[in-house]
Symmetry: C2
Subunit: 456 residues, 2 copies
């Protein structure tokens, strides 16, 4: 018997699902997306790059311990098992607050019901953007391979020049900025010159390299407790890094850095100069502020947000990660991975509360601590949870390695990174010592020889 | 009691050790250096790049299975335990046959007693060098990451354009040349589109990609026996590759390739075009021929050598690897890894014989066979040793994987590569899917939209 047709009225009309737009695939954006996985929303995550980068290990790519793919994964692969989430490689160039849409560089316009901004921070050269090609910073995979290229190339050019002229410029490496990135870079350069390179060269002595760490404030790791700053400085000095605190860089050029300390100015020859001195929030903060004058920015361009991660008057716009200026107990929450992850997750939690018609939960940063490595087997760690402690040296390093392996995204990468570390630390051999790209260093003395003789 | 001073005459005067100069750190150069490790000679190996590249696996870097560092190692690290060997990153621009010296781009001039040329081969565009940016070839790590960038970017741009315009150009990938490299590239692209990408995109269907393999001669793998060519073509077709033999490329441009088959011309839209059609020997052959008119080159620019790997009249100059044209039993020895390794080792053996005043041994290529993979779990292998066989499909693939793991340089790399393969083959996930560099593809339709609206 033929079935009677189902009357149309019994079929529920399709309910429009709220559209959530996440801009940025860093720790904040990725955690927001994951928090939304099982909600009845349509999520689109937009990032300029196709991959999420595990930034805390970026310095190990820059110093040839790890490969780029060890710490970076395609965002769409990370999120591929979330059917409600699409990923788009594009760049947001305009935000329409009233139209509730964003416009991308490609021309695409995407409408949203909720907007989560998570575009992070980038280097700041304090208005001297012309310094960037001379002293690259470390934020992206491309930055890391560029730093790797420069550091490794310096030794090759020195060896080459020894063969040609019997002399070479001093192998001075200058790291500007004594925060966690600067400390980690300086320690890793000391390692590579002292422990990994010395057996490989016949004409130069890589252990004679000098590493300078220049910090404007009176101590390195200024955001850490004073005892840990002291431990860090001692560890760095032990590795051979020349730490200069209360030292301001006044000028730099190809092959040199000029800095003042207590009124006297010194010029340091530098084959490689690296920048770890300042960060500024992504320009999307400015874009938002120019669209709505109730949005306020701090001096780094980060957006002031309330307890719900909203700028004033914009309850459907969340600012997360390094782009957010969030104050807790009178202090700004720092621009590191943990608060970013927690903010991303919290934005998703607020959207979930909205969907259930429940009151929105307030954000509160739960600080488990912070840490930085100093070379091969040393670190400093301010542990806040599950117990409180200040650790230095090897115990801090073991803590660091455990936490970082645990938080690395993707099982394969964890194994690959662990294997690389074991190999690096026990065999004194760095696996990723590749120079790719061109073979020039800013300021390296170019040969002033007559052109080569014709073939005889 | 004070010891009497040793009379000077009892100290042997320093014997000048023969200087051996090796140009090129590929399979031939590296094996030559290793063969000289325990001889009383001073060896200098010069290469433009700081790393040795394991070329047979380069296509796996291009298709995001392996990381560059998995198949490349610093030459100086490989040779660091040979005290008689120095490595120099430089480029030879002139050879002085009479002066017995070479001149480098840096200006350095190095004298030699023995010269081993091992600079290999590069792509040939048959006089159409303007095609190179449109259709990159695969010889270096940089080439591989550029191909990876283009292939991965094509999918991202298509997804982006689907969101923006609801349509995208057909995802056609064209591989020009059906030799081992072309076959491996085409198979690997088929894999990535069919097996690895389809779960990651929401708006496009990567499995709808078309892969074209264009080969001018009547069959793919023309250097292999006919039954293996047929097996390879069947495997490729099974993977979804559209194989066009007896098809000559007549022209190509940004986004398209034009080819003729039996007199009729077809134009194929192509988001990515890859070049695997021709190789030519390194320009050092030409440099040598212009220095000495008894040196003869074949049509690819390789140097004709005698049974001792010398060009006529130059017993202290050895030509090895792809730069050498060596005939055995009426056939030219092919330009692949095995003969290159054997030639490098043999050059060192001849120098050893000279040092002992023994007669020079003749070179004879010992052919163990040849093989090429076709996608995920298939290959063709012509085995010559330890038994003779023609293998196809899975057995050939198992043979391939065993041999390649065995020959990979460096214990760490072998482990890393094995881990990546296991992960890739069993988890259907590619670890190294990074897009780095810019985000343009030649010929991709640029947006013709009005500029974006100002922020509202």
């Amino acid at each position: 018997m033929p079935q009677p047709p189902v009357p149309e009225s019994t079929q529920a009309p399709p309910v429009p699902r709220p559209r959530v737009l996440i801009i940025g695939g860093g720790f904040a954006g990725l955690n927001a997306a994951r928090g939304l996985a099982h909600l009845p929303v349509d999520v689109t995550l937009i990032d300029r790059s196709n991959h999420h980068t595990f930034q805390p290990l970026l310095y190990q790519v820059a110093l040839a311990v790890l490969s780029p793919a060890d710490i970076a994964q395609p965002i769409r692969t990370i999120l591929r098992d979330q059917p409600n989430t699409a990923v788009l490689m594009d760049e947001v160039i305009a935000i329409g607050i009233i139209a509730r849409s964003v416009t991308c560089a490609s021309g695409a316009t995407l409408a949203y019901d909720y907007l989560i901004l998570a575009t992070g921070a980038t280097h700041s050269y304090f208005g001297r953007d012309d310094w960037e090609p001379l002293a690259p910073g470390l934020k992206t995979i491309e930055d890391a391979t560029e730093i790797r290229r420069r550091v490794l190339l310096a030794f090759e050019l020195a060896e080459r020049q020894m063969v040609e002229q019997g002399t070479h410029p001093p192998l001075n490496f200058v790291v500007i900025g004594g925060g966690p990135t600067g400390v980690e870079l300086a320690g890793a350069i000391a390692d590579i010159t002292r422990l990994y390179m010395h057996r490989d060269f016949r004409h130069i002595d890589p252990t004679k390299s000098r590493i300078f760490l220049l910090e404007g404030s009176p101590r390195v790791l200024a955001a850490y407790p004073e005892d840990l700053s002291a431990k860090a400085e001692a560890s760095l000095t032990h590795l051979g890094v020349e730490v200069h605190t209360a030292t301001q860089v006044t000028s730099l050029g190809p092959g040199w850095v000029e800095a003042t300390h207590g009124g006297s100015t010194t010029r340091i020859e530098a084959v490689v100069t690296l920048w770890a001195a300042g960060v500024q929030a992504s320009p999307l903060g400015k874009l938002l502020a120019s669209a709505l004058n109730t949005v306020q920015l701090d001096k780094r361009g980060a957006v002031f947000v309330d307890d719900y991660l909203n700028p004033p008057g914009l309850p459907n716009v969340f600012i997360t990660g390094d782009l957010a200026h969030f104050e807790q107990d009178g202090h700004q929450v720092p621009g590191v991975a943990q608060p970013a992850m927690q903010m991303g997750t919290h934005a998703a939690r607020i959207i979930a509360a909205d969907l259930k018609g429940k009151p929105r939960p307030k954000f509160r940063y739960f600080d488990k601590g912070d840490m930085a490595t100093i070379g091969r087997m040393s670190a400093v760690a301010k542990v806040e949870w599950p117990f409180k402690a200040h650790l230095g040296g090897f115990p801090a390093w073991i803590t660091w390695i455990t936490v970082h392996i645990f938080f690395l995204i993707g099982f394969r990468n964890r194994l690959a990174v662990l294997a690389s570390w074991v190999w690096t630390y026990f065999m004194f051999s760095r696996g990723a010592r590749l120079i790719t790209g061109d073979q020039h260093l800013p300021g390296w003395p170019e040969k002033s020889r007559p052109s080569s003789p014709p073939p005889s």
